[in-house]
Subunit: 475 residues, 2 copies
């Protein structure tokens, strides 16, 4: 119909084409980079706005640190350098000269920030210190995918320092729950929250928590992580404070990040064969008006009505626009469905005469006729809210229907054969066993859910004690 | 008093220290880089918010392009590469390997964007195309100053493509006037708007317009520029469209930018020996409350009142906070003066009993006693507006008092001796003469004002036809 590949048959092709054709993004000239077009960048601006407000409300201050990190900084924390050194981009020349020390472009900012924390933090009175920055970061990747994995990406990274482990622990979970709140409320995305296994935690962290999402491809995507860094970086960068008993202590630190890959998740969780489906709270355009007219006089009258609707929409915070292009109405229906706009209003001459609006919902294709009245925007807002709620429910259903707990390798194989995305079993966090499973079934440990973290059972391979662990193929 | 160097005696030292002590910024570890602390970054967030709204209102769409530019792109426009090649930072290695082609970190994004414009633009119907991005850019500088000149800085860069020269010209001036509007309304900064001389225009532009500001150091700072790029880049990058007569044409392009150096200008225009002075519309904290109490009971009552004031302030858009630190009231007065907060409210036990507030204005040190009533925030807002207006008037007076038109080299020397910042004379845009003036008096041509662009007079050196041109020492 619109020439898109079928999502269910070829998710990868569908994903790439829907992004390009909806005008969300383009490929950059350098391998692995992408261009955020207006329609796609607005989604990121909405993340910055809504998630940003939540972060600020929790007493975290926005700052900006330089993107250049002296190469030697990266090496100060042993695990950290092993994790990130293979992925960095390095500036060796600047201002026409070879630099004395090469500069790494931040893959994440722990090292440069904590070097500075050592100056900012002297006493327990300076703690907790909570900062956040919205920035671009670079991790050189072999295989890249628009939004989900690009060599340069945009994110926010929060960094906090605390006097005690407990205070830092609390912040790790505050960040995790804030991400969950944002994902549910704005992106209409349900996720599995919990711990990373030891093999998958952040390089330099004591533990990492994560939110894992299941895309329509049946593959998992990690959206947002939050790390307890312990005193590892504090020791490497000498982040010390004098406590209430006048004793020198190392600070406890956390970091947490949420990036443009979340937009890839949103596309992959809600899309369908018709194209994108943008949750109303995130959509750049929430309602598109399609005028259907036969005469210039008819068009003029429809334009009057459309302009009024749009103007009023602006004042009540509903993002609307009309499509006056020269294409046919049918073409426009397809186009705006592909672009994922939650509601379409069709105004024809008959609707005009009867003071009615025909509203079609992207989420289920159903249509409803509204009387054009003073409270019309309230009714539209209700339709938007319903769409938002329905997208969440549908994603939750998909997640539930594609998750299965298994008690043996045979059951695991069967579950994967039967199209499960997440297979869940007791696992004792053994790196070797994880490697075998990745080799045999291409699945990796995604998350040990908070919901069941106290449940202990027998690892289905070794019989040792283990915890319920979600495995999946993943991006 | 607060240990700051005197601004009038040693502007450079004052400037650096006021930034560090007010907590606006810190030096980064790599030479020429800076860290925006929360108090300073909020100023940039306010630029993004208010200038961003103006840009969006004018129909420009926010996008984001990659920061990596293949080195070969930079060379496609001859003047452009000559201007920028000496300043770029170059990535030669990434992902553990030497890159086939080195990557330049964007010093500005014309080349990478216009390469893409060539794909986006096919027909006159695609024009005008207007995009903007908020991003970090890198220009490797030998001499750097916090905010005013740093190797990495933050800015917005607007880029437009048009079917005709006239349409592009109009956009150049729309951008210029938008900057002026923002500078006046929010930063309380008067500027001289006009053309750059040929020696000072943007590398690759037909002409450049600029806003030049005079700091308290009597030196000029260029804040914001807007360029008519003609068809220069269109020819280099093949940005063509089919016009209404079905003819292939090259597009006409503009670009315009406004950066974090503007914050340096704001600091340098409004500051005084006591420290910063932040225009109320830009200030992170518009009003600070200093409690003055003798007993814990007194403190508790004051806290009640302060919390109410702050809460109500939040709801009406006045940014307030109270200083409950353990320092003395006198210390706090100095500290918040140094930090440039426009209004200070002192609440003592007497004020509490009499339901009065003592408000002290940073702009002139005057104080006023307000009755604590329902409309108290309206009165506070009026005081903020008065401070904003007074800062602008004062800056305008300073600008006028330090600008003088001269008719001979002798008058020029005298004007500089007598402490003029801008010396203005008829000048015929001769590069050699400009070099001589720079050599002899350290002054450079800053701007040919729009206000007098049609006035032709005799160049004071050569007697040839020239235009009134502002010269100054500059950052």
């Amino acid at each position: 119909m619109n020439g898109l590949p079928s999502m269910s048959e070829n998710f990868g092709e569908w994903y790439q084409q829907v992004i390009l054709r909806a005008g969300l993004a383009d490929y950059g000239p350098v391998k692995g980079t992408m261009i955020f077009k207006g329609y796609g960048y607005t989604l990121w601006k909405n993340v910055q706005k809504y998630l940003g407000e939540m972060i600020e409300k929790d007493g975290v201050e926005d700052v900006y640190f330089p993107m250049f990190i002296p190469q030697s900084y990266l090496s100060k924390e042993k695990e950290h350098v092993e994790g990130f050194a293979p992925e960095v981009a390095v500036v060796t020349h600047a201002g026409g000269e070879k630099l004395e020390e090469p500069l790494v472009i931040r893959p994440t900012s722990e090292t440069i920030m904590y070097k500075t924390f050592a100056n900012w933090i002297q006493s327990y009175r300076d703690l907790p210190l909570k900062i956040n920055q919205w920035a671009n970061v670079v991790r050189w990747e072999k295989r890249t995918t628009l939004f989900m994995r690009t060599s340069e990406f945009l994110w926010q990274e929060g960094h906090t320092a605390h006097a005690t482990k407990e205070s830092a622990d609390a912040d790790v979970f505050e960040a995790l729950h804030r991400y969950d709140d944002f994902l549910r409320t704005y992106m209409a995305i349900p996720s599995i929250k919990g711990y990373k296994t030891s093999g998958e935690k952040f390089a330099g962290a004591d533990y990492t928590t994560t939110l894992e999402v299941l895309l329509r491809s049946n593959k998992a995507l990690q959206i947002g992580t939050s790390h307890q860094l312990g005193q590892n970086f504090a020791k490497a960068f000498d982040v010390k404070f004098v406590d209430e008993n006048n004793q020198q202590q190392y600070a406890w630190q956390t970091s947490w990040g949420f990036s443009t890959r979340s937009l890839g998740g949103m596309i992959g969780v809600h899309g369908d064969d018709k194209g994108l489906q943008l949750p109303p709270r995130m959509a750049a355009v929430q309602i598109v008006i399609i005028p259907i007219f036969k005469t210039p006089e008819g068009a003029a009258k429809i334009k009057d009505m459309a302009d009024k609707l749009i103007e009023k929409g602006k004042s009540v915070g509903i993002r609307m626009q009309a499509d006056w292009s020269e294409n046919t109405a049918g073409w426009k229906f397809n186009e705006w469905e592909l672009r994922g706009v939650p509601l379409r209003i069709e105004i024809g001459e008959r609707e005009l005469a009867e003071e009615k609006l025909k509203v079609v919902r992207r989420v289920d294709g159903s249509s409803v006729v509204l009387q054009y009245a003073n409270d019309i925007h309230k009714q539209l807002q209700e339709l938007l809210d319903e769409s938002q709620a329905m997208l969440f429910r549908r994603a939750e259903e998909f997640l539930n229907e594609h998750t299965r707990q298994v008690n043996s390798e045979a059951e695991l194989v069967q579950a994967l054969d039967e199209g499960m995305g997440f297979v869940v079993f007791f696992f004792n966090d053994d790196k070797k066993q994880a490697d075998i499973l990745q080799e045999k079934y291409k699945i990796t440990p995604r998350v040990i859910p908070l919901a069941t973290e106290n449940e202990i059972g027998k690892d289905i391979f070794t019989g040792k004690e283990g915890k319920l662990t979600y495995f999946a193929k993943a991006y």
